[in-house]
Symmetry: C2
């Protein structure tokens, strides 16, 4: 992928200056790798979108015994397939990229590839109507879940705070959009049946709640322009219509009659909203890619600066004497810039010696790490909640929704944050 | 370092099986790299020990105007130098090792190398008595602090929970031992002066407190055999003697007369205890290296198993049909084994298909991550405390001890854990 890597890393440095430059080059390498992952994530979120559309069309095709949506479905399959080919190549490339030595990402790449490779067979079964509607939905949803999990892992592996924030934001947006898509499907089934069904209603309430949670985190890490776009969407008529229909569904007791004529407006307002979310998602992916490019340009400039500085130091004076005097200078608050303790305000002056260069770099790295911690907290909390949910599912033989609802209720009863409840559960393994 | 890496990573895989095997090979690569880092950490902690001894002898040499400890010091310098040569080579090698793309580690490696390269000049100045005792101590302590920070970063970068626990334990032991060494030096000065000095006493109390904190975390992550060795040390006469002398220093008000004849017993009991800690430290380094070897052997066995399984699958049936049927099998609780959600109990059966192999691997990775989180919490809390300390130092122009003492007092006054106080301070930036 990056033939430069091999060269840089296989040459053993012989001095401190060499290592300093090596560190800068490694930073650039890492940013470039991050950029290629950002590209991968862009294609993944496009694939999710394409599969969601294909899933919807396939459901209608199956439900109508192949009478409706035959052409629409074929068109959408064609679109899915073109993204799919691109994604397959990227996955194979990424799985062997030099810096991707993250076992969790590689395992998920394999998993997703397995799903992509099974798609053509899935489509053949749908075309010949050898699959029920719910089987088809479950199959597409499984691949989509894998793709979304991959975005999560890439976000979790990012080492740049801004990129992390953008990725955390994107992960939550894509996930929220998937919940919105499932809400559309379940609601359509619900209205279509003409009668309120207890389990379907439960599922719908779960999807609405989970969606709100995802979008909340998305907004927490989104910039002002995305907030504006989001606010516009929230003020559209279709959002008002969706809220009205949701209230109607929420208020209906199990067994109550529902007007089947509401299926179409339900589907329409959900679809309009999903389209708006998709547009926001593309903006976010665009912002992510631009930010990577900016960071790389900055890092390359910093490398040139450092090379210049080190050259001028070599020419100006014997570097060793300089290093000795400065290394032991008692007035230098060095301990503070040693990795984690850095807190001194960043100097606006350019560094003038090797020591100052190292100090500036350590300070920069420590600042980045502190920022990174806050972006990653959202992911860490998420993992704790998912893990606790898994424990409850296994222990009580519950579905994902049920496990979540149970944990959610327990946390509200005890007036605890959901994540604290989850940690408590994992730590004490208490029954509840 | 590891020429195998390049080969594995530059071959683009073409199927899911390829990626699965690649993931296993990456895991082995990563473990081997961890092993070489464990070796580096062993040499670093040896270097810390050698420099501590050299620092002590140099102080006596300078204080006696070159009349005492001339030979002892030269012998210790010789020992330091032999570890130093080994360490220098390892640092240069590690800084370009393929997987070390961790900018913080590389920056610290450069910093430590700068210190090591300045050592010969430092020694020349000490030999010709061109340095005061406190300058000499400060210089050695600075290099030691860099070496200890490097152990911290290596621990923080480890991806295996058991190795992380061992490294967290080792970091705290080495750091506690450094506090113990400084306590010995400050106490010797204190008794030697024959009179209780306010600032020296403050420093001594800080060092005793900091030491207790480090050893507590060391014990938290240490195994039973180290606990036993520790308990034996705590029951020795020299520990009782140290506790008695500490009480005496603690009780003395500033200005009170101290018996200078207590210098020698103070130095003796401190030294005996430090020697015992050094022996425990060597055991811990040994355990670390053995554990790495065990993990590599296990991972290599798992790779052979997987290769065998994949070969038999290829021979037994067309792999694609198998993948399709199994990927969409609704009875498979797949979502649970997707990265972070894994919680199902590990199956004792060997996996029989590609899907099961992937599931087993994901489950294994998720379990590892959950364990890793708990080992790393100790490091994360440590970073928060250090960062808050740095903020206080800069804002109030305080020394490290003073900042720590202030934060500690504030946390006790408010009945908060130290780390919670530190987080509070960083979040609100409150003055106190």
């Amino acid at each position: 992928m990056n033939p430069q890597n091999t060269t840089i890393r296989n040459t053993v440095p012989s001095s401190v200056s060499d290592i300093v430059l090596l560190a800068k080059r490694l930073e650039i390498d890492e940013l470039k790798h991050l950029q290629s992952r950002a590209h991968l994530v862009g294609v993944i979120s496009h694939m999710v979108h394409a599969l969601q559309a294909e899933r919807g069309a396939s459901s209608i095709y199956i439900a109508s015994d192949g009478k409706r949506f035959e052409e629409t479905r074929l068109k959408l399959v064609g679109e899915s397939e073109s993204v799919q080919r691109l994604l397959r190549d990227l996955i194979l490339e990424e799985s062997c990229a030099s810096a991707s030595s993250n076992a969790r990402i590689v395992a998920l790449l394999a998993w997703v590839l397995l799903g992509l490779d099974a798609l053509s067979d899935l489509r053949a079964r749908i075309t010949s109507l050898r699959l029920s509607g719910s089987e088809s939905v479950a199959a597409f949803s499984r691949i989509i879940a894998g793709l979304i999990a991959l975005i999560f892992e890439v976000a979790d592996a990012s080492v740049d705070p801004d990129i992390s924030r953008l990725l955390v934001s994107l992960f939550n947006l894509v996930e929220g959009k998937e919940f919105a898509g499932q809400e559309r499907a379940v609601g359509a089934l619900h209205f279509g049946a003409g009668r309120c069904d207890g389990p379907l209603k439960e599922r719908l309430l779960y999807l609405i709640d989970a969606q709100a949670r995802s979008f909340e985190v998305f907004l927490q890490f989104a910039d002002a322009s995305l907030h504006r776009k989001w606010a516009v969407m929230e003020n559209e008529d279709y959002t008002a219509e969706l809220l009205r229909l949701r209230e109607l569904l929420r208020a209906a007791p199990p067994g109550a009659v529902l007007d089947p004529a509401l299926s179409d407006p339900w589907f329409a307002c959900c679809s309009n909203r999903i389209t708006a979310i998709w547009s926001i998602q593309r903006d976010l992916v665009e912002a992510l890619q631009q930010h990577c490019a900016t960071l790389i340009a900055k890092a390359e400039e910093a490398l040139l600066d450092s090379e210049g500085l080190l050259r001028s130091l070599r020419e100006a004076q014997p570097p060793r004497a300089d290093a000795v005097d400065r290394f032991f200078d008692p007035h230098l608050a060095v301990e503070q810039s040693l990795s984690f303790a850095a807190a001194a305000p960043e100097s606006s002056q350019r560094p003038r010696s090797l020591i100052e260069l190292l100090q500036a770099q350590s300070r920069h790295l420590a600042d980045m790490e502190a920022e990174l911690t806050s972006a990653k907290r959202a992911l860490a909390e998420r993992k704790v909640i998912e893990r606790a949910k898994g424990v409850i599912m296994v222990r009580f033989g519950l579905s994902e929704d049920e496990a979540y609802t149970r944990m959610r209720k327990a946390s509200m009863d005890r007036n605890m944050r959901l994540v604290d409840m989850a940690e408590f559960l994992l730590a004490k393994a208490i029954p509840f």
